[in-house]
Amino acid sequence: MGLLDKEFNDDNIVISNVDDLLNWARLSSLWQMSFGLACCAIEMMATSASHYDFDRFGVIPRPSPRQADIIIISGTVTLKMATRIKRLYEQMPDPKYIISMGSCSNSGGPYWEHGYHVLKGVDRVIPVDVYVPGCPPRPEALLEGLLTLQEKIRNESLVKKTA
């Protein structure tokens, strides 16, 4: 009996392809780096807490960049911090993803003109996958951002370069 026939007869075997399997595993356990910058970090912590429960999407905070899959840039990126963020990003193992949370890290936010110390968008130093607008975004908005990222990962391919 061939494998394809077995799929319908045997309970313990599921047929899939490597792309789907890897993507499913990847998007279901996005470990997040414990990293917060400003008021957005408060919303991010609220999203992690029991009421909104990031954990149900497989997002667990990790205290080291070496064990993290995503980094959420939650807050104002100063020029001084930007050099550190770049280093943290480089310390994360591939594959790695970035969510830019809130107006400040998207574009400089309220500091866009007179902020002598603020980087006008974190995408000037690291490649951002998902931008979450808001000042600060509500936890629902961050969850939406995460689901968007999961959708992006679901469509990745081993043979085709996507990002």
Binding site: L79, K80, T83, S107, W112, Y116, H117, L119, R124, V125
Partner: protein, 176 residues
Amino acid sequence: MKSTEEIFALLKEKFGDAVLELNTKLPKEAVIEVAPLKVTDICWFLRDNEELLFDNLILLTGLDDDNGEKVKLEDGTTETKGGTLSVVYHLESMKLGHKIVLRAATGRDNPEIESVSKVWACADWQEREAYDMVGIVFLNHPDLRRILMPYDWEAGYPLRKDYMNPEFYHGMKVPY
């Protein structure tokens, strides 16, 4: 409890020319203007004299008075020449319940002023901030480094009126 006028009279008697004037032109509190290179002595006296006992430095502010001559440079930017930078001290005596405002103005071209971090330890970081933002040099400060901006920030002091932001910092574009 003493009024600012009484405290001014006490200081004038003790320090003479180092205490310049009592400025009452401002809308709120009167300000005692003092010489920048006598600040430490005056503050020790204010803290330890039994009639004054200023045990609390509420805040220390660095200030660009913007009263210099504005020179237009060739590249279209303006630079301020001359004029003064000021440090403002808000003092309070928690024992006696009185408050005063001191102010010391120093030349913009060589902005030096004595540190009071030995008198009130909380002045340490506030003086570092005044140095970082306005570029006032505090003599005898134990650790005068930038406190907020990066240590290698070379573009100047951001809260001066003639400050221009750089185009790049470590390869990152700074303007929007």
